[in-house]
Symmetry: C5
């Protein structure tokens, strides 16, 4: 039995954890979920480390990046922390970040939150239970939350 | 009995520690406070590490970011150190940073210092004693120091 | 017998792993290959660490950097994680990154993916089996994926 | 008896170490000084680590940041290294950085070097021997090298 | 007997290692040299770590930074790795980086490569064998590769 950690924030404007948990359950069994909420994205690295210390095999870190320039620096700092935890422990933290300015209105943004989170939940499940599935998508231009870019279109093939 | 560390700076132009301590005490009991003052935000990571070495379970790191471009790089370096300590120890450092240019005048800035610090003190208390409270705010667009953004407004709901 | 890890992504738009494996096999024997696919470049550091934990002596990390400004920050975060794993373990991760905007069209981009990956596969083989070969190229302006810059042209020599 | 490390550089254009040592001695006793000179600011993290390995309790890292854009990146890299050493050891490195473009002429720049270094030497002494002194300055807008900003001026107080 | 590591790259357009080795030998004896060539500057941190694992007391890391914007980010990532290795081990890596756009033509650039490398080789020798020599240059505005800036010129002295 694997344990999947879900770290989310009170800063985000969408219940990303609910989407992640719902999608994980649709993929199959073999895991339990441990959820942990922190204030913002700069708290996700500590949250993820705490989830690993509680026995998680993989963590999905869910967050929103605001519109201000300072938010971009926060995202970089948050990413550094997430990289450090992964480098030290050798376990995946799948970061699902939605930028508040990625969509034209709030309804569209909500759909982006939902879709990107669900597609990364599938990635998480595959990394733990179906590595051959994600390997089958290698080099195919997958884009979580949007239509896939697809493999390069090469003339004369 | 938990121990909460408060790291603050002589660079900041507001007594953030007083606000944090006052608000923590309003939330309830079950903790003691250890306070430690450093010169500036780049000294907060060492200060937080020292507070953890003295037995703290969580540290609130209080600082101000000045108006100069160099201050933004300082903030990034400071954040990097704070991430590193958290990644290594698996304990939270709640960073409360107020940028000197976030408010139109000094009175307004003082109110922002006070409010943001207090709202993060509540987050700190919740992380240690009421994790269900912060989880109830997950995805609801909380903004410390300003009015909350709230969850996304989705058409047709 | 050495073990070479190949970490690639589902985000990339070209099957970089196939090119790397094909080129490694052309160089000679003495190694086995372990392949591991992750979603995107920010997942490569964890993937590389996992490959080292499974006994790899060197990892080739294959990824594509998208066109958006946010993709550049992702690349920095990814590089940071890759540096951290290498600094901690003292083993090479040869990062092969292709930027989506490096070529004028998709056919040319595909050729760049292929050539850069193959030239770094030779570097990987040399680091493990032919250190005198890569040392012979020291200071000669090698450019993986494009024509070499060559050594500086000095007047009067 | 405490041991204070002084790391300085041959790149800087002012003898910062002399000012630091003179000012530390004015503050009182109870410490010995270990001095170590490195080429530039990117060498200060290793220098500080070496001073800690030789028994120092705190290090003052003295450096100058040049006028070129590349110098700003060097400063960021140097700061990262200094943060890492502090995060790993839980001991302070007080970074005293003077930017070559902070003053209008060389005489004024020399005064800035001297004053900032001395004010940080006082901070160093206080952190080790008079923590109540630096705590008394918390939130008061201290500025090393220039006139203090002071606490925020709030209307109606 | 000390051991000095020389890490260089096949990306650089000048044989920096030859200049470093020649200059080190001119300074005196008491050391052996271990050389290790990697593809590019992002591989130097792993290369330096490997040289330390083989018994080196200090490493000189020799590299060139290209003209493209992406090369600047590579330099930052490379520096992060070099800082990490130094912070973890407490040993110096003297980074000698030449930017391809620092000189007007290739002959001048070659002279810059040669001079900067040699001046840092002297720094390396001094750090290991003549610490009093580098300390005598503290605060004197040394510039490796160009004329020294010298100490600040102060009016009325």
């Amino acid at each position: 039995m694997k344990r999947i950690g879900i770290a989310d924030t009170s800063f985000a404007r969408h219940d990303m954890a609910a989407a992640a948990i719902d999608e994980l359950r649709k993929q199959g069994g073999g895991f339990t979920i441990l959820r942990y909420t922190v204030p913002g994205i700069k708290d996700l690295a500590a949250g993820a480390r705490i989830l690993f210390d509680r026995g998680c095999d993989l963590v999905i870190a869910l967050g929103m990046v605001g519109r201000q320039p300072v938010d971009k620096d926060c995202a970089l700092a948050a990413d550094f922390g997430l990289q450090m935890v992964q480098a030290n422990l050798g376990k995946h933290i799948l970061g699902v970040m939605v930028h508040e300015d990625e969509a034209a209105d709030e309804s569209e943004l909500a759909r982006l939150f939902d879709r990107r989170t669900r597609e990364h939940a599938v990635n998480a499940y595959d990394l733990l239970f179906r590595p051959e599935s994600i390997q089958a998508r290698a080099g195919t231009g997958q884009r979580e939350g949007f239509a896939d870019a697809g493999p390069l279109r090469v003339r004369g093939r």
